[in-house]
């Protein structure tokens, strides 16, 4: 990971890293299209780390490099040269994940059922102006959106249903699922993950703690996917 981070950083791209077990997601601010082009060249498949795409958080627009295929399911495919200067990108370490669940690095975002609704929702939230709640709410913070996206890419399965994405009055976002006999809430605010709230609706048992830990301990992504499949939605 360090080598990858250094390689991209040296090309003028600011990187923040999120590392959990075998799941690697990098988010960064593209500071030059040349750097983006070079990052794409260096880290495209099959060299190890696959560049999954670029996202413009304020619009929710997801861009895929043209050399990764031309079927985008309504999403926009562009060349690296045409990526917006203020785009952000997400990278997955496909090599490390080959032995993991069939997810993430080998799946481009449009293949994940939750991504489309989430991207559409982010586009809506990006339009919220200060005072949007009719009181004194502030606009949604880009960092919190980034962190929420990185979290979802880390922990969700392709067939995990999309959460409700709720803007918070002080600028954060909250992901919520109320299905499968569970109430799930994950809050991102102040530039960081504020943790998971889990409630078993049947037993009324509650749990609060680190989001990634809770998702794994309670097999939340899997249970949500199964519930969605049973419910047919």
């Amino acid at each position: 990971m360090d080598e990858l981070t250094r390689a991209i950083s040296s090309e003028g791209v600011n990187i923040r890293t999120h590392y959990l077990g075998a799941s690697l997601a990098l988010t960064g601010c593209v500071t030059s299209t040349e750097a983006l082009k070079e990052a794409t060249r260096q880290h495209s498949r099959p060299s190890g780390a696959g560049l999954s795409g670029f996202i413009q958080p304020l619009t929710g627009q997801w861009y895929l490099p043209v050399d990764q295929g031309s079927s985008f399911g309504g999403l926009q495919g562009i060349s690296a040269e045409r990526a917006p200067r203020d785009a952000y990108f997400l990278i997955h370490d496909t090599e490390k994940q080959e032995s993991q669940e069939p997810l993430r690095g080998d799946k481009t975002p449009q293949q994940q059922v939750w991504f489309g609704p989430v991207a559409a929702r982010i586009r809506q939230l990006a339009k919220l102006q200060p005072g949007w709640d009719s009181y004194r709410a502030v606009a949604v913070g880009v960092r919190d959106v980034e962190n929420a996206l990185a979290f979802m890419l880390r922990v969700l399965r392709p067939d995990t249903p999309a959460p409700s994405v709720v803007a918070l009055p002080r600028g954060g976002v909250q992901l919520e699922w109320h299905r499968g006999g569970m109430d799930i809430e994950v809050e991102f605010s102040g530039g960081r993950d504020q943790g998971l709230y889990y409630r078993d609706v049947v037993t009324d048992a509650e749990w609060e703690g680190p989001s990634d830990v809770g998702f794994e301990e309670f097999a939340i992504a899997e249970r949500l996917a199964e519930a969605s499949s049973r419910q047919g939605r």
Binding site: L125, L128, W132, D133, S134, Y135, R136, A137, P161, S164, V166, A167, L168, P169, R170, G172, Q174, E176, W177, H178, R179, G180, G181, E185, E187, S189, Y197, V201, E208, A227, S228, Q231, R233
Partner: protein, 131 residues
């Protein structure tokens, strides 16, 4: 008593809060719409004081005037105080009923607010028993 709390706002006073549609989330198990506790995630949460509305002979739903698509909930002042909140009247030029529920609102407090809240103007297909 919490610092800054105005005890002239009696415990049985209803505190009304407009709910932006963003805070309405779907419960897929029950196929109904519920209130996200994110609606209360503000350390200086604006509300409308019920006793001022009564003095002005205004209906609670009047505070929705001009805010298309919003819903309205209320909680009792007593519930807010029970969770360490101060109730602070803060009238504005155009709304004498405006006040704030001041204090940190960790998840436990927000959940308690949701559990005790009543819909005054509900969304479509509200979940029964709880907002």
């Amino acid at each position: 008593m919490t610092s800054g709390d105005d005890r002239s706002v009696l415990d049985d006073t209803r505190l009304y809060r407009r709910i932006h549609p963003n805070f309405i989330v779907h419960d897929h198990d029950r196929d109904c719409n519920r209130l996200s506790q994110g609606a209360f995630n503000d350390p200086e949460m604006s509300v409308h004081l019920g006793h001022i509305l009564e003095q002005e002979d205004r209906e609670p739903a009047d505070v929705l005037s001009g805010f298309t698509g919003h819903c309205l909930v209320s909680i009792a002042a007593e519930v807010a105080r029970k969770h360490g909140q101060a109730i602070v009247p803060s009238a504005t030029d155009d709304d004498r009923s405006h006040g704030e529920v001041v204090g940190d609102k960790p998840k436990t407090v927000r959940r308690a607010f949701v559990a005790s809240a009543s819909w005054e103007v509900p969304p479509e297909d509200p979940c029964p028993e709880e907002p």
